[in-house]
Amino acid sequence: MTASRLPKGGRVDRAKTVRFTFDGKAYSGHPGDVLASALLANGITLFGRSFKYHRPRGVFAAGSDEPNALVTVLSGSVREPNVRATELEIYDGLVTASQNRFPSLEHDFMAVNQLAGPIFSAGFYYKTFMGPAIGPLRSTKVWMFFEKFIRRAAGLGKAGVTADPDHYERMNAFCDVLVVGTGPAGLLAAEAAAETGAQVIIAEERPIAGGSLLASVELIDGRNAAVWAREKAAALAALPNVRFLTRTSVWGYYDGNVLTAIEHVSDFKPNRTKGQARQRYWIIRTGKTILATGAFERPIVFPGNDCPGVMLADAVRRYAVEYGVATGNNVTLFTNNDSAYEAARALSQAGVNIVAIVDVRADVSGACIEIASSAGAELVLGHAVTGTHAGKTLSSITVQHFNAQTGHVSGTPREIKTDCLGVSGGWSPAIHLASQAGGKPEWDEDLQAFLPPEPNQNWVTAGSAAGYMDTVSVFSDGATKGSSSKAKPKLPSVDAPMFDASPAAVFQIEPAAKSQKAFVDFQHDVTADDIRLAYREGFHSVEHLKRYTTLGMATDQGKTSNIPGLAIMADARGITIPEAGTTRFRPPFTPVSFGAIAGERYGDLRPHRLTPMHDWHLANSAKTYEAGLWHRPMIYGSHGETVEQAYVREARAVRQSVGIVDVSTLGKIDIQGPDAGIFLDRVYTNMFSTLPVGKARYGLMLREDGIVYDDGTTWRLSETQFLMTTTTANAGNVMQHLEFYLDCIWPDLRVHLTSVTDVWAGTAVSGPKARAVLEACVTGTSVDNTTLPFMGIVYGSIGDVPVMICRLSFSGELAYEVYCGAGFGTQVWEALLEAGKPYDIMPYGLEALGTLRIEKGHVTGAEIDGRTTAHDLHLDWMLSKKKPYIGSAMKDRDGLADENRLSLVGLISLDNQSINGGSHIVSDATPREPADSFGHVTAACYSPALGKYIALALVKHGTSMIGNRAYATDLLRGKHGAVEIVSHHMFDPEGSRMHG
């Protein structure tokens, strides 16, 4: 293969030079070149090494279907692997490297793999390295040992390891009509759609519009086809209702006519302007989609078909016509259909020398014969290529007599000297996007190809994607599909010879004698023999074939290998291609970078929820931690205390005098309506419709399956209004739970819900001196035991801020929750601190809050863990027998009444050591593995009130175990200690303090 730039032709700007490097060597090309055309123009024909055998490979195609010519683009410390050289536009300073070779492309050690050809056949890795099922080499250890060597030997480009410094954008777009592709069908469809006034988006994956017209030598309306396309595209782009996107590959078709695309915004430019995105990820919502995605030429599989110099016939034509590059001095074409003759006509006009046209068909039309003769090419009919001769690139081919009906090869081999062979095995409509949003593709005998399936979304295919293969009918189909009217559209005139689009049904050439490897999937090195082997080993279904041989699973998604692979399997099974089936195409159509999908969404994306008093906490040395999305004070640390010292000090202050804690994070739901009381009776296990106005009640919710869901206090503010509080963690879930029942189960209830969590700031004041603190600062109401009894509610003011005060206790002390408008939270908080000064009021954090509740045996999310029942938590007293409620029926299931269930107990350390949360409860005095666990610790602390390390635990036969000795064991953290099982009410079991 001797590639070179032709003296003239192509759309490259020969007046300008672009400099780039490939594997460290400097080359130059012209604006308009892609890497493949520029390297070919420089005589470079070896582009990479193959995946498994490390065979030399050259460029095979001229677009997104390229399986071989993948390169890594390097820029500083950033590397982007597996970029198709056939699409990569060159720019000044572009640095590229070939892939999958060691140490260099020319001399590759791993090429010895091909000497061991037969053992690297389908399933080789699995069979050899997964190891025997029994014996000393059993299991995957063998695989694990070999894996790293195999991974190094087999693989495509390597990804970079440094952070990607580039910027990516996401864009949402909406339109009435999306046109994918700007070949002759796409242009006329878009024009017809735009004329109706519809909002139209046109997406073209290449830098310029035109599709097949770009490499056509036909005259459209008497003008050069590419020029006609450029003018048509410019006119469309100028319309106010048209958005024309180039370098934009539509790669996914999702439910609801949502399509995704990647626009290459600046990665083809030497310099990006500040802030300019490298790529833009489009999410396009469209009323209708016109898929004018064209067709892919497919190869014929024959022995020796993978050496550099063997290409698709259309690629040979496109390098010549579009880039002014001859891919060889003496080109041969090998075909089963007429399209190669169109290519020959174009090549001949571009000045490329054609030696011969080898056609598997015994007879061809007069037009074909005429083209061969005027191109000076020998027409070798009824023959097929049965071998190639190549060092690093092609030097000659062998042809033999071939019967297209029987597939039989015969006669004496004849050698033809040629340095480039263009192969055409017919054309397959590009149905990838259609298949993503449709049913099973339909086989067409005429085209020997799959046509688009029945759509299950609002799309149509147009042009060659719909199976129309000549420009005249493609124009007609495009204009019709784009228009909503039945009127016959006016079409451009086309000056071109008419060809038959129907190929001979020949997909592979299989000589009887032992011959060279015949490749089907170039990128994954899958040969025709691999497919036959898979068949013999029982992998008949297409899905099994794919997975066993990896056919079609490389980055090109089998664009060139799909149909030939299917044809070979069908042949082996003695069935037709549609009987063998086809695989469904899935996104992405072309590879998509992770950066583009992520866009600006990286790093910590969670919102941070801060209470109104957050700044005060920070200014007063609070150490915070995250509780869900909330940031909450853990302790107010100072004086070099440990966390334990700090919470012990805080908790002790609450029991001895008074403390305050920020409880603004509690979920709060405003429940209003005439049926609010009935609603709460159904939602809670206990009764709320009987709750007097101005009183609060502790409530328990179950799930429908009888398990405890959430707890909290709910306050009756008026006959028709309640304020429900939920646990901090469950606030959103409870809201959704209530909304579900109101909307879907009891729509007849006249109740309205509003989340008011962020509306109120809440402060709990707890301790024997709590009332004294309120008396010192609250005006407008008394807070004495008569006016504000346990579970009572009053309204007053602190300073000039209106407050609502409810007397309830989580700590077990005399305690109040003071609520005010969120904006006044800090003002009220500071006023309470000021009023508490005479009593050394102490702000306390979540650790002290937890300590106080563990001492009291109050449950939280650690015990309400989605597995416990009210009975397990000793909350049976809250289960009303007077009414049904959510979970009331299923709570009595046998499994939930099992006496072996875990239930809540307290633990007291007998060795004065702390108890780890999560420890298992065992009976062994010394650690043992595995331990026979009969429970676990849910929460633990040091109790200043008891002077001991204590814990809450869920233990089998909990209540009857009280008084027994057990051991809390934490094998992970090496902790094992004796504990006494006690009642969960460890401090002030009579509750006398909070009623005081």
Partner: protein, 95 residues
């Protein structure tokens, strides 16, 4: 996937929360028929084809919708407020 909320208009599926099978019938709340409750809580058909399901427009109007959707093609054939559909089934009466 796009859901046409009858209140907010067509919105991306990201705004919605799936809330389960809308064909199940909650037993009489006072019933202690464990088999009926168990069927309501746990038993789900997995039809290939049309199915009715609850969706909450959690990132929008926060109304529950009943959507009829084809499980094979994901095509949505009808959307309505759950309140309307449930009320019409129950005649506005709660047992």
């Amino acid at each position: 996937m796009i859901i046409k909320c009858p209140y907010c208009g067509p919105r991306d599926v990201i705004e919605f929360t799936y809330q389960g099978d809308a064909t199940r019938q909650r037993p009489d709340p006072a019933s202690s028929d464990q088999a009926a409750w168990s069927a309501y809580v746990y038993d789900r058909a997995n039809p290939m084809g049309s199915h009715r399901e609850f969706w909450l427009h959690s990132g929008g109007c926060r109304q529950h919708l009943i959507i009829t959707r084809d499980m094979a093609t994901h095509v949505i054939s009808s959307v309505g407020f759950a309140r309307d559909a449930v009320a019409s089934v129950k005649g506005g009466e709660h047992p």
